[in-house]
Subunit: 320 residues, 2 copies
Amino acid sequence: MKLTLLNSTFKADFDIIEKELEKAIQSEIELLQRASVQLLKAGGKRIRPVFVLLAAKFGSYNIHMIKNTAVALELIHMASLVHDDVIDDADIRRGQPTINYTWDDRIAMYTGDYILARSLDYMTNIRNPIAHQILSKAIIDVCNGEIEQIRDKYRFNQTLRDYLRRIKRKTALLIAVSCELGAVSAGTDEAIYKQLYKFGYFIGMSYQITDDILDFTGSEQELGKPAGEDLRQGNITLPVLYAMNDEKLKSEIIKINDQTGKKEMFDIISQIKKSGAIEQSHLLSKRYLQKALEVLDELPSVKAKKTLREIAHYIGKRKY
Amino acid sequence: MKLTLLNSTFKADFDIIEKELEKAIQSEIELLQRASVQLLKAGGKRIRPVFVLLAAKFGSYNIHMIKNTAVALELIHMASLVHDDVIDDADIRRGQPTINYTWDDRIAMYTGDYILARSLDYMTNIRNPIAHQILSKAIIDVCNGEIEQIRDKYRFNQTLRDYLRRIKRKTALLIAVSCELGAVSAGTDEAIYKQLYKFGYFIGMSYQITDDILDFTGSEQELGKPAGEDLRQGNITLPVLYAMNDEKLKSEIIKINDQTGKKEMFDIISQIKKSGAIEQSHLLSKRYLQKALEVLDELPSVKAKKTLREIAHYIGKRKY
């Protein structure tokens, strides 16, 4: 998240979240501590905490009440990344070595478990049963999504619908829930937190589609991993689905596996870029963004609305 | 758990838990569903639910209130077993193929995550903040224990203290928490649920030591896995620690690794059995059991006390 979007009061609150995250991952077990710190220092955009805080502005905002929700959600996200990297056999993320690369899959599995457990600890500070239900259902759905992602790897005959359901669970859901729970934690009416959920859902869908586009258009330096790596790992994303409408290109894409070499990948990436698939994907991403902005318009006028709108535009234009 | 110990009213309640467990692991994702059902059908003694139910008898017992606690705890236990089997590279558990064996480590990782997430879902039905705090702290400690277990593998110079701390986190803690939360869920006074925690802790320590003894004295058929498998996988248990007091035996034990053959293992197991290490381990197990019974004596006179005492004796004598 580009922090210049956020004003100084907000930045102070954001620092509180960052400090709390550092505190959250402390462990008396040195190995866990090192692995967790490595993960935290690798950074990330912290978009879930940002959405929690901004959504809370629609209710009675109190950073000490909502920080538990923000920290719990970021920890759930971090835990899912660690397990994700095991599944994807990823060596680097955000330009930093992954936990499974630095140590091994087993350490990564328990580091993920540990961070999830820490998030539960923060959840216990949330005294609202609705929040608990929303969070546990979200975690279940994230797990369902992860299993779907394994199942759908290299499954080249999947549909757009399969893809959309997958990215909903992989990304949009937790962003939607961040918006929703920020509002719930600040005691807004149901109509408002449901509306914020929708906003987060549409933003999340747009965000993930952009991510999937960047996997093809970004440079290795920007991505912190080689371009086309998702495809090489068998993750069939939107640009790939569109590109496969070209039968000739399809016949080459379906030959890809995790042994496919750099040169070959470079060639296929170029063809995908030329096929119009990137532009089509951008269109769908923009359509979701548009829906997010429409939903936002219907929300009450508070200052945070402007920031949320700016973030939405930023997400639409981001380059990495 | 030998169900003959339990009377018929209790059995009816126990059936409710079993049905609820079946419901809990339902998943729309076929692969997850199959993996979870395989795990559930492999059985297990369900000692955590039994302790939850019996401890609840010290307060105002209502099966529909406490079933959430019982199911949540059994699911946490099941999730930890799935991840455990990945760490131990175990092919079978309770005579049934493990999830990592039937599918692979990655499916097992997410099946564990999924089952843990389902347990959170049951936790959300528990309307007591104390219960949530106890549970989340317990899950954190279980994770710490798992990492310690990885770290301590094949570390032959560890102390009795290392071992005891490890089995506390691996086993005793969740049994202690089962007793504690059964009572908390039934609204007992703090003095009673703290006392039941202690009872569960001592029983759990005794139980795990017996488990570790059985790894040497049980037959492959009883154990559902080859004897000495813990040691071959580098898990240094109490009988091994005692056996290493004999320098000659120690020099052979420290050569063991996961490539050690059946014949060699058979030979070392025989020597461990002859060394007196099994008898010494039994003594410590009995001492914990004795402490459990003393703690039990101090609790108010309710009918469940007799059953708890019988279970304690059963655990002391169990053969598998």
